[in-house]
């Protein structure tokens, strides 16, 4: 259990994990803040350290198209993008999941234009929330490194066969140097079996992929897709459990911190969980019964685990990192409201949208959000959302 510890930028560790996972095909176009991942992978391939096909495509649309082709022949496939890149590949992004093509994307979360911004929030990933991919959010560098192996394992599981997006906060994680515990190649080999795609494209056994569907069959095809995503859940849990027993690092779809006896919980997704935990420690010292609920698995959404973690609480203070314009609030909060609708013991939900396009959300801001959110919940002021820090 455990390999050597290395101080390394998270992007480079992700690239090296893809190398350790022995990816066959990498097709990606560089875009801030994902650039270092792609650059380092191209170095690994050019230096002969990774025996893979590195396709320097001319756009993200082509990147995702190459990934579909490579996954269709049963090659272990990796890509990475952000923001506008994801928007450009969105057409093929939906096709990858509809054709049940296993691949892994490191999605360095960044705001979408406009106004033009290169900084971090969750606007890009929310655009493809309903595209049929498995979505997981990681919190720190170790988490990101570990989830590269987990995501290949889940994607290629014969009971799953779906693309997986590993969401991690741009700059906050991509450009930060952290101590990361590397696993031995032998451990990875044990964890990650060879990829065998049953219906792979092969001249010996021709199949047709991505066929035209008339109204008579489109509904059935979509139900099959929905069923595939929902039923990926046991394989997702099994892959986390096995990683846990191999490395000692265990992950869960919903993770909590000091939440068991808490009356109020702050709900986060991604790197914000770390700051939230620190602030909760301070507030606990002051006698506030507060805790943290972190959503790791976003799709398929873990309804049972989420309800189990929060039913009986007085209120949840949900931090969103994107706006659903003209809608019911942040995409996470509106989903949680729906997940709790008519459930006995459902907590109230106070929705903050914060940290858009990299605006810093400090410890003190978290403290304000938790205490103000608690006061709002106590006074029954839980409608809509609060755009935290908005001037005017």
């Amino acid at each position: 259990m455990g390999g050597k510890r290395k101080g390394i930028e998270v992007s480079l560790a992700i690239a090296e994990a893809v190398g350790q996972a022995n990816a066959d095909v990498i097709a990606a176009y560089p875009i801030t803040p994902q650039t270092h991942i792609v650059e380092h992978l191209s170095e690994l391939v050019a230096n002969g350290e990774l025996d893979a096909e590195f396709v320097p495509v001319e756009s993200e649309h082509s990147a995702m198209s190459v990934c579909c082709g490579s996954a269709a022949v049963g090659a272990r496939t990796f890509t990475s993008t952000s923001s506008q890149g994801l928007a450009l590949m969105s057409e093929i992004f939906f096709i990858a999941s509809s054709m049940r093509l296993p691949m892994v994307m490191a999605l360095a979360n960044r705001s979408l234009s406009g106004p033009l911004s290169i900084w971090n929030d969750h606007t890009d990933t929310m655009m493809v929330r309903d595209a049929g991919w498995i979505h997981v959010f990681v919190e720190n560098g170790q988490d990101a490194y570990d989830h590269m192996f987990w995501s290949f394992r889940v994607a290629e599981d014969p009971d799953v066969l779906l693309p997986v997006a590993v969401n991690f906060d741009g700059f906050i994680l991509t450009h930060v140097i952290e101590p990361i515990e590397y696993e031995e190649d032998e451990t990875i080999k044990r964890y990650l079996p060879e990829f065998r795609l049953k219906n792979a494209l092969h001249p010996d056994k021709p199949v047709s992929m991505g066929c035209f569907a008339m109204p008579e069959i489109y509904t059935e095809a979509q139900m099959s897709r929905e069923d595939g995503l929902v039923n990926s859940y046991p394989a997702i849990i099994k892959a986390w459990d096995e990683w846990g027993s191999l490395t000692g690092r265990q992950y869960h779809p919903i993770e909590t911190y000091r939440a068991d006896d808490a009356d109020y919980c702050i709900v986060t997704m991604g790197s914000y969980g770390e700051t939230a935990m620190e602030v909760v420690d301070t507030l606990r010292e002051e006698g506030e019964k507060v805790g943290v609920v972190k959503i790791r698995l976003w799709r398929p959404f873990p309804f049972d685990e989420f309800q189990g973690a929060v039913l009986g609480k007085k209120a949840l203070i949900v931090i969103d990192r994107a706006i659903s314009f003209g809608g019911p609030g942040g995409p996470v909060a509106s989903e949680l409201r729906s997940a709790l609708y008519k459930k006995e013991g459902a907590p109230a939900i106070v929705n903050y949208i914060a940290g858009l396009a990299g605006r810093d959300v400090s410890r003190n801001d978290f403290r304000n959000i938790i205490l103000e959110g608690k006061a709002k919940a106590e006074s029954g002021d839980t409608e809509g959302f609060i755009l935290y820090g908005l001037r005017g």
Binding site: S98, M99, R100, L101, L161, N199, P206, V207, S208, M209, C211, A213, M214, E216, I217, T219, E220, A221, M223, S224, D227, G228
Partner: protein, 98 residues
Amino acid sequence: MAKPMEQIKWRELEPGAVVTEVGSAREYHTGTWRSARPVVDSKGCIRCGVCWLFCPDAAIIQAAEGHFEADLTYCKGCGICARECPTGCITMVTEEEE
């Protein structure tokens, strides 16, 4: 196809709706889309095969007598053959008039 499309249940689909049966498009009779059919005057046909080349659905076949004609099981009635025929021996006739 093992089953007509409208009878397939969702659990019977392969993951990703992959079609494992080769040549199954043959079972899909696109001729039902047609609102006009190409009628060939076989005496005017010089057997050049231009209609056969241009047909986007490979729905032109060569008759035993040598001239070309449409396979009405698949012909969607687009009229490209009639437009391209150098002798003008193909006429589009609306189905309603038949």
